[in-house]
Subunit: 417 residues, 2 copies
């Protein structure tokens, strides 16, 4: 069973991965009883002096107090000469909690700053869980001393577990690349399962690297990776109030500083970071509420990338497409519907629809050698590819989604997340 | 049980209404065996000489052959001096059927034209059901003689039944108003249950009136009524390939011709027509796939009408809001989420959220006298009002939606519509 008492997703990886330790980053997790009982729900992360920080946050107009606070702090600069910290709680989102929301953020980040001797302007925070309930921040403040004493470079796996809400498994991913003069390591953790249609980052994601790279460049690498990773996933088309991704570089690798994204070293780092981001994003979809299928929606041949994105999103968000997938029904007519409603330029007679390597429809109609039995067999797979070529131009976008099942209704009609 | 073997929606009206006969309009329905067995599935409607026709159709880029055909015919003028006809089948949408789709439309409308002695340019058609299967139009052509012999001015109720797909009850609405010198009658029928997020009209709707009114003005009245009726409903955010509304005026009322929408007669007619359109639109939501709750989403105080529409649609389409309603959970935090993701201008501290006459949230937080028990009790109602005031301007939009239940998953994971 997962932390919220839900059965573990059938799409979960076999085990949590071994994440490389990032020199200069330590984690501690504990149970503050914010909402859940009998599990950890607060994580403290300390990042050593000289770290460079970048972030990406939801564009929701009703974003949570902690998100606004993080954005304000990062706007003043991501160079954390005196170190930085991140404090995260699950069980309560501290969103739509009025002026009291900021008071809670100040109380928690202030307590961390005092405990660790770090300026509060570099103490970031995230809260995830129910919206509109006051955050019992005194419960978090009360355990900060404990957390501080437990800080451990190998604590990432416990942290991934403490930040879960309706997640059924903890999520982590890493990469190690050969830098110029030494290895560079990247380690990330994430949580997210429902309310997933990121408009900037996703739920909560923390990625750490020992690369030497200045904050503005770090932010650039992060921004350039979002479109094909976190902004390319959807579980239910609902965008969270709390989406946040924080990326910290400690500079402790022996590898030379990365000073440009056009250099081979810069490109290698950007590629490895994007791999970690994509893997974490996929793990969120694999833990989509009620999910039983992991689906890649690959759109090509659109008049523009923006049109491709509209089509991919229309398919990946469509309740009718997602219920057909749940029912293992090769109902490609619903793909046609989604293309039609997307608002993108489309021409019936140039559209090609493939499931896996089978062409189902082309030239404006069902493919000549369409085989319903073969298509139905394909739908029994746990991992599916839906490919749409619009036959109009070079625009392309790939998105990842899951099916819409009774499990989603169970979780969301019965559980106040 | 409804025609597709589904239990009748708990939101269905007690009985099909008595629809006034419109002089000059006759209906006939029969079983052609297009897909379903043991029920009627084709309706023929004859409209007498001198009728004026207006229409509204989906803007889907993958719209069905019959929709494209209707649009091309209406573009040449809605004045049907030699009469008009509408032929509708359920069980097959004739959408994404390539060039063969238009051949089917030509075969069916040509046969009707020959049988009734009406120019094919004024024979309109609709098909609804599965997408991507060739329409067995010969089965429809074969029964057109039968249909012609059965034409009956009182056949609207049977027609409302013959056009159903996953609908669980037939849908009709009417109005009678005092015209200038005589009564004017309006009678309409509709079908629709899933794939409902009209972008122009809704599924299939046919409205008839004996008013004297020229086609361009009739089209104007129709267009002005769409925004607050059919374009203001959603079941599942999925827009059909086949949405079509045809409005025909026979001119047989004794009332004087309506020559302007600014006149009292014009305003009364527009108002009565909009009432019929709204009622039919509501019936579609009441028959939303799996629906157990009928929900009005009323957004006011937005910076613009367009912003109000974004917010109303974000709430009405949100799977998380709709599953909370299904679970009778007063989870207003999900309303905050939907406002935030909508893309409309919003200010947390000016937002007010009401369920019925209860204020749940205001001034950026939970209302002071918020009573969870009272809110939970309210959610047990079958008809719910969710009202959001953004506190920014005069923009307003009301939409209607239903809840998202296990029934929706059952219908769409197991039934190929």
């Amino acid at each position: 069973m997962g932390e919220a008492g839900l059965p573990v997703s059938p799409l979960a990886p076999a085990a949590f991965p071994d994440l490389p330790v990032i020199e200069g980053v330590e984690f501690a997790s504990a149970a503050a009883g914010v909402k859940y009982r009998g599990r950890t729900d607060v994580t403290l992360i300390r990042i050593a002096e000289g770290a460079q920080i970048a972030g990406a946050f939801t564009r929701s107009a009703t974003r949570a107090a902690c998100v606004l606070d993080n954005q304000a702090k990062l706007a003043r600069g991501g160079s954390a000469d005196a170190g930085a910290a991140i404090i995260v709680n699950s069980g309560n989102a501290n969103a739509f909690t009025g002026a009291r929301g900021q008071e809670s953020v100040d109380a928690v980040t202030g307590a961390v700053a005092a405990e660790l001797g770090i300026p509060a302007t570099h103490v970031f925070s995230s809260s995830t869980g129910v919206i509109g309930e006051p955050l019992p921040h005194e419960r978090i403040v009360a355990i900060i001393g404990d957390l501080s004493r437990k800080l451990d470079p190998a604590g990432a796996a416990d942290a991934a577990r403490a930040i879960m809400t309706t997640d059924t498994f903890p999520k982590g991913a890493s990469a190690t690349l050969a830098g110029d003069g030494g290895e560079i390591r990247i380690t990330g953790i994430a949580k997210g399962s429902g309310m997933i249609a990121p408009d900037m980052a996703t739920m909560l994601v923390y990625i750490f690297t020992d690369a030497k790279i200045a904050a503005p460049l770090l932010q650039e690498v992060l921004d350039s990776g979002l479109g094909a990773t976190f902004n390319a996933i959807t579980v239910d088309s609902d965008t969270s109030t709390s989406d946040a991704l924080i990326l910290a570089a400690t500079g402790r690798s022996a590898a030379a500083e990365i000073t440009s994204l056009d250099s081979p070293a810069g490109q290698a780092f950007a590629g490895a970071l994007q791999d970690v981001m994509r893997e974490l994003a996929h793990l969120v979809v694999r833990d989509g509420e009620g999910a039983t299928k992991f689906v890649e929606v690959r759109v090509t041949g659109a008049a523009s990338d923006s049109d491709a994105k509209k089509v991919a999103r229309a398919i990946a968000d469509s309740p009718l497409v997602k219920t057909a997938i749940a029912g293992e029904d090769a109902n490609w007519g619903r793909i046609v519907m989604a293309v039609g409603k997307s608002g993108a330029e489309a021409d019936r007679d140039r559209l090609t629809i493939r499931f896996g390597d089978m062409i189902l429809a082309e030239n404006g109609w069902r493919a000549e050698n369409y085989d319903e039995d073969r298509a139905s067999d394909y739908m029994k797979n746990q991992e599916l590819l839906i490919a749409v070529d619009l036959g109009l131009g070079q625009g392309a976008q790939t998105m990842w989604t899951c099916d819409l099942t009774h499990g989603y209704i169970d979780i969301n009609a019965d559980y106040r997340s």
